[in-house]
Amino acid sequence: MEVTMALFITKRLLMALATVLVVAVLAFLLVHAMPGSPGAVSLGAGASQEAIDEVNQRLGWNDPLVTQFATWLASAIQGDLGVSLIDGRSLSADLASRLPVTASLAAGATILSAVLGIALGVTAAVRGGLLDQVIGGFVGLLVALPAFWVGVIFVYLFAVQSSVFPATGYVPFEVSPQDWAMSLALPVITLAVGGAAFIARQTRASMLEALQQEHIRTLRATATPTWKILYVHALRYASLPIVAGIALQFIGLFGGSVIAEQLFAMPGLGQAVQSSVSTHDAPAVQGVVVIATVVVVAVNLVLELATKFLDPKLRAS
């Protein structure tokens, strides 16, 4: 059993590495397909061709593509993603400082949407009737609300009108855990609204199916405590699609955090992408793409392992 599991993890790790590599190659090629050269970008419009050629030469832009990629990959493996064309800052250091912001946003929103979504979904499935319809309508409304608009409303209510939370800014955890939590509150809630609705729907459907199972009926007949039937047996049975949904939420929120980062002026990866694209800073764009891919691949890997753990049939296979 342990050997099988080790083999499974090894295979998945290799596939994950292959995926990251493929994306890195694609990102590299796309950067090269963009109009202009690093020299032209870093020196700006109107620079002499000589100066542009000199910068390109220094950066190895005229080397064969394979050589350029191999050089970049060798550095990237050692944690060096190169430097920005615009201001020469280390991209690894810059992205490392931004990753916690986006990760905090995505993780916080995923946890909040999971808690609310599961609570609403379980309630709707178990209670049924009018409450199910009310929750269904409410969830439908939440799904339809654009995150940007939700954010604006929350800011107005909880930052402008009542000063409960800050309207903008991000405080790193190491500076002040309390201020960190406060600065994340509104963006996390903003991002979690749509996710909670999605998970609620998923949970309701899965729970309805779970509650119809023979073993749940047997448990009811044997006077097993209700909470145990619901939250240990039925929810575990229903958990596979819910966990998948939560993982997808995290991936979506990780990519979609740019909205919250703009609205709340937070220095995350989304803001970095926006800035890099607007200044044509190709290596910076490439760096963010690769980092985001690593995160997505890692989450997928964890999801597969969690699925394996939750489903006895898969675990045995």
């Binding site: 909040l112 609310l116 209670r127 000063s163 209700t226 002026a265």
Partner: protein, 518 residues
């Protein structure tokens, strides 16, 4: 039944708990304007763009970034609170008899962050970078520019002479912004280092807690003699691009001062923040083609005048720019050359527009294309309707690329841009008469004469006379088709900051002018 009740109760508990946590958390850290304590140690400014997006070379940016770079660098001349020009790194200046040579006498004991000292050789090294096309601040003084500096010579260790291609009385005004900012020896020698590290002698230095693109933290520079003129020990430039988010940051206490757009001013005022307003930026349609090369009709002044009459500026402002001012003047309301006469002379009159078109030989109008960007599309669509009403078909095409947007000056007859007239002579020479808006090289004797008069004007009366002539001719000739004057708004926390003051008509207050509330 019991099953359902328990679950509902549990879910309700989860929801209640979540809300309770939120409420409790809220008790700990709200920072409203009302509850903010007077804090004179730091000032947070919410700004609308990333001042350091191209690093910390002040010469790579234009005057619009003067306020940010004022913290890090000193200029040869300085902008004074009343908008005039005063001494800076140059403590005095003088011209030769024919105004072709400007000699600057430099301060001593000015130290840069790299440890180097100010001297004439350093100023020369800075200004000799003017041929670098990446240095936006030098665009007007480089070779071929209207205010071309032909040579910079060291007269003595504390004196440097600037020689111009033609007489440039009043050139010292140009040295009061980013053009006059001086970079230390290391920065000039290794310009690449300025991408990540500033090298100035300004009142502040960059703190390592800066997060590029998000917040720039400036702390007092103990080596600067000028630092005492700046009230705050620490200044934070917080980049908040979304206008509503900037207003929210101010109202809820994350910013002490914020640049507000006109449509967020009422909201900010309603929440008790102070707002200081100034005009100065006129959103203007600019006739790129005055010779009829790209659209023959534009070669005729009557056609350009017809467009002046055809546009309903008040309706445009009411619909799209509430709070701003409809403009019939090319120059802003607070400038010396502003005249009410133009408001009546070119008042909305579609019939007059049609008759002028007929006189010019276009009784059925004509068709042309204008290139729009995301910021200008809506305004242009409003103008499009007005022009259609007099028979002119204006096709609004979104720019497919930055290159297309820039190329529009040569390929289309009309453009649209905000113009700041803080330095009218600079704008005329740098952009209108010889610059990028006149690639067809059209000439207008009256405009050239008025600009020359304004450049040479020695007193207020002469400035007013020349500026009025310039303004009137810009509109009459249709070189400028102004639409509205955008107000620049600075919102401030009245509990913490004294009312914000602008320096003359400059749209960006002096960093030194911010002071704690008394």
């Amino acid at each position: 039944m019991k099953l359902m009740t328990t679950t509902a109760r549990g879910s309700a508990a989860v929801l209640t708990g979540a809300l309770l946590i939120g409420s409790l958390a809220g008790c700990g850290g709200g920072s409203s304007q009302a509850s903010a304590k007077a804090d004179t140690s730091s000032l947070t400014l919410a700004i609308d763009s990333d001042s350091g997006s191209f690093g910390y070379d002040p010469l790579r940016v234009s005057a619009a970034q003067r306020q940010f770079f004022e913290g890090l660098y000193d200029s040869l001349m300085t902008l004074q609170p009343d908008g005039s020009t005063g001494p800076g790194l140059a403590k005095a200046f003088s011209y030769n008899a024919d105004n072709t040579v400007l000699t600057l006498s430099l301060k001593e004991d000015v130290t840069f962050t790299d440890g180097s000292k100010l001297d004439a050789a350093l100023v020369k090294a800075n200004l000799d970078r003017r041929s670098d096309p990446a240095l936006t601040a030098y665009s007007a003084v480089a070779k071929g520019g209207a205010q071309e500096i032909t040579s910079v010579d060291v007269v003595s260790p504390t004196q440097v002479a600037l020689t111009f291609a033609k007489p440039q009385p009043g050139f010292e005004k140009n040295l009061a912004s980013t053009t006059g900012m001086i970079v230390g020896k290391n920065g000039v020698t290794d310009t690449g280092s300025l991408a990540a590290t500033p090298d100035g002698s300004g009142p502040y230095t960059l703190d390592p807690s800066t997060v590029k693109g998000n917040k720039y933290v400036l702390v007092k520079n103990d080596k600067s003699a000028e630092a005492s003129r700046y009230a705050y020990k620490k200044v934070v430039f917080s980049v908040v691009m979304d206008p509503q988010a900037r207003a929210n940051a101010l109202v809820s206490g994350q910013a002490d001062v914020a640049m507000l757009t006109s449509n967020t001013v009422d909201f900010a005022k309603s929440k008790g923040v102070g707002v200081t307003q100034i005009g100065g930026t006129v959103n203007t349609m600019i006739s790129f083609d005055k010779t009829g090369k790209t659209a023959p009709a534009f070669g005729q002044e009557k056609v350009r005048q017809a467009i002046q009459y055809a546009i309903n500026r008040q309706a445009l402002v009411d619909a799209l720019h509430k709070g701003d001012i409809p403009a019939w003047n090319a120059l802003p309301k607070d400038s010396a050359g502003f005249t009410k006469d133009l408001e009546t002379k070119f008042a909305y009159n579609p019939d007059k527009a049609k008759s002028l078109l007929a006189e010019a030989g276009y009784p059925n109008g004509f068709e042309f294309t204008i290139i729009a960007g995301a910021q200008t599309q809506t305004d242009l669509q409003a103008v499009q309707k007005d022009l259609a009403a007099v028979g002119i078909t204006m096709n609004v095409k979104m720019a497919a690329s930055t290159d297309e947007a820039f190329a529009a000056v040569a390929t289309t007859p009309l453009g649209y841009a905000p113009l700041n007239w803080d330095n009218p002579v600079g704008v005329m020479y740098g952009a209108i008469l010889n610059g990028f808006t006149n690639v067809q090289k059209a000439t207008d004797d009256q405009l050239s004469a008025a600009t020359g008069e304004l450049a040479a004007a020695k007193d207020d009366a002469a400035v007013k006379a020349a500026a009025t002539k310039l303004n009137t001719r810009l509109v009459e000739s249709g070189w400028m088709i102004p639409l509205y004057e955008a107000l620049t708004n600075q919102g401030y926390n009245t509990k913490k900051v004294s009312p914000v003051k602008f320096a003359g008509t400059n749209a960006y207050p002096l960093l030194s002018s911010y002071a704690p509330a008394s």
